[in-house]
């Protein structure tokens, strides 16, 4: 039982059930706001620039990137891992918090899941591009071919990656869509516009909401969620194996899977925080995404930040304790000091030190500072991937082949393009879909908010 005396009121403003649908659906009926057009315009410009980079890469080849013989992975893999990490928040929010019976997740899970979908889309573009000959991309599927038939190497982490990410995308998309079906039915029955009634009616799949359909819905949601939960852990573990099954110093460690998974959840929650602060400001959802909700996310981030710090220290300790000269060299001479000092210490500062400010209640209550720190986390997690990918590759076993890496304008453009794609996707979600899970909020409304015997205010 949710106790509002302990946890505070979840949804503010004494909402009734119809208030919830009205508030959440209001932005769908209002004329498109100016900020939407401006941001969408910028996102489209970014996507256009990104398309230019994609066109150049595909037509010329990946030789136009800043990669060299030593640093064979650069911006593309950094960005791929970064986006996949961000894409972990939705499922982490929906599933882990569902299992932990955290009712505050109901205001946030829909937006977090939407973010997951678009982040995974953005991530998926990079491996495609990195194939070089993208027109031969279908080689990755184990299909009946005339070369033997020659099948895939099922021991290759790169193949595991393809399987894991496409499964993750499908599972998240189904879970997200299924959660929206009852809300589409609410729009279908309440909208005055005939076109909307048709479109949302078609998307609601004929939802009726009787006892049996709710039973099946809840069961199916729990099953899909239960199956997606191990996927959250496995996807980023598999991504980390792209690195850790190699023999490159700095990559070849057993800490990688848990370190990557926790990093992914950290960056995902960071991005959720960024996005929810924007969403509640633009749509005045402060009654739904209350300061208490943001406070809960910041507390989680503080804890995960400590785990991140532990992971960083463990890496350093292991580099020394293993007695491997190469490992120690990579960490001491190429990360802590040396050419990539800036990237390394940015990572440490943004991920392990700055989030510790959340220990102070004053800082947690100041939404502007919380927003700025969430941006720092996003930046810090990008630098973490930069440190992992570039520093290890640039100086390996053979000093004669040491090389530095800096991205070309094409690589930067491809990255900006995927940011454009992500922002555009999120904007489309803000504009046309119910951004808060209406039926789930209604489900916890009475217990967490209006039940008189449990409230302090009444």
């Amino acid at each position: 039982m949710y106790n509002t005396r302990v946890r505070g009121i979840l949804i503010k403003g004494n909402k009734t059930y119809s208030d919830v649908s009205r508030d959440v659906l209001r932005p769908l009926d209002e004329p498109t706001p100016i900020w939407w057009w401006v941001t969408a315009g910028l996102a489209i410009i970014a996507m256009a620039w990104g398309s230019w980079a994609f066109y150049n890469t595909i037509s010329t080849g990946i030789g136009i990137w800043g990669l060299n013989n030593n640093v064979g992975w650069g911006f593309e893999i950094i960005n791929f891992v970064w986006w996949i990490g961000i894409g972990h928040a939705g499922t982490a929010f929906s599933i882990f918090l569902l299992i932990l019976r955290q009712k505050w997740r109901t205001s946030i899970n829909r937006a977090a899941e939407a973010m997951t979908i678009f982040a995974v889309m953005a991530a998926g573009l990079f491996p495609l591009l990195h194939m070089g000959r993208i027109w031969d991309g279908f080689f990755i599927f184990p299909y009946w071919n005339t070369r033997g038939p020659l099948w895939d190497n099922f021991n290759s982490p790169l193949f595991w990656d393809v399987v894991a990410i496409s499964t993750y995308f499908m599972a998240s998309a189904l879970f997200w869509y299924m959660g929206m079906i009852p809300d589409f039915a609410t729009i279908r029955e309440s909208t005055a516009s005939k076109i909307k009634k048709k479109i949302y009616g078609a998307m609601s799949f004929g939802w009726i909401g009787n006892a049996k359909s709710w039973l099946r819905f809840e069961t199916a949601a729990l099953l899909l969620g239960g199956m997606a939960a191990p996927l959250v852990v496995s996807v980023h573990s598999i991504v980390s194996m792209d690195f850790s099954v190699s023999v490159v110093p700095g990559w070849h460690t057993t800490i990688f899977p848990p370190y990557f998974v926790i990093g992914a959840i950290f960056s995902g929650f960071g991005m959720v925080l960024t996005l929810m602060i924007i969403l509640r400001k633009l749509y005045s959802f402060k009654d739904y995404v209350t300061d208490g909700h943001l406070d809960a996310i910041t507390r989680i981030l503080t804890f995960i930040s400590l785990i991140m710090a532990t992971a960083y220290m463990t890496e350093l300790f292991t580099a020394w304790y293993s007695g491997s000269e190469y490992e120690l060299f990579t960490f001491l001479n190429n990360r802590v000091t040396g050419e990539y000092t800036f990237a390394y210490w940015t990572m440490i500062t943004c991920n392990a030190i700055i989030p510790q400010l959340f220990w102070f209640k004053k800082i947690r209550k100041n939404i502007t500072i919380v927003f700025i720190i969430s941006i720092f986390i996003n930046i810090g997690m990008w630098f973490e991937r930069y440190v992992i990918v570039v520093t290890s590759l640039s100086k390996d076993f053979l000093p004669a082949t040491w090389a530095s890496y800096s991205p070309t304008i094409i690589e930067v453009a491809a990255f900006v393009g995927t940011i454009g794609l992500f922002v555009f996707g999120v904007l489309a979600f803000f504009r046309w879909l119910p951004t808060i899970a209406i039926s789930e909020v209604k489900g916890v409304l009475k217990e967490t908010t209006t039940l008189k015997s449990f409230t302090d205010e009444n």
Partner: protein, 175 residues
């Protein structure tokens, strides 16, 4: 045409008590429409679902099928050695794990749609459209088979248990 009596309630707890009282006086509650899942209702209406068994079967079959596929491709069809590792390796487990989830998730969703007879673009008319908004609707079926005294009794009971509105409907969806 079959007619049902609808009792419309404003509050979920009032609704729960109403179901108990109706059932205690031998009135069969055929269905309940609500804007969100009410967990107490399923045991009261004696509803259950076999969906978890279906999911388990999909997962188990999926794992086996994927293992057979991997084994056949790597060991039987084209036994190609990679890095001196055995042909039938433990690392199959990763693809089996993810593939099991893939098959389990996809087919659970499809089974859900199939059992609910839901598909894109399906048109439905609800007994009372407010049930997806903020009202809870109790359906008492087969009102046309009742005599006047019986239907009056049903309506009286609905009123007594806190229904704010009582009406008749000819919409019969899952009844």
């Amino acid at each position: 045409m079959k007619t049902s009596i609808l009792g419309i309630y404003e509050d979920e707890d009032v609704l729960m008590h109403a179901i108990d009282k109706l059932q205690a006086s031998n009135i069969k509650v055929a269905d309940v429409y609500s804007p969100f899942p009410l967990h107490g209702i399923w045991s009261r209406l004696k509803l259950n679902t076999k969906l978890p068994y279906a999911t388990f079967i999909y997962g188990a079959v999926g794992a086996v099928v994927i293992f057979i596929m991997l084994y056949w491709m790597s060991v039987v069809s084209y036994p190609l050695k990679f890095g001196g590792k055995p042909l039938n390796t433990l690392s199959f487990i990763i693809i089996m794990f993810v593939g099991t989830i893939f098959i389990g998730t996809l087919f659970t969703f499809l089974t859900y749609l199939f059992r609910e007879k839901m598909y894109p673009g399906k048109q439905v008319v609800l007994p009372d459209p407010r049930s997806v908004e903020d009202k809870f609707v109790i359906v008492i079926a087969n009102a046309d088979e009742m005599n006047e005294q019986e239907s009056k009794h049903v309506m009286k009971m609905l009123k007594e248990t806190g229904a704010t509105e009582i009406k008749e409907s000819t919409v019969n969806l899952h009844v």
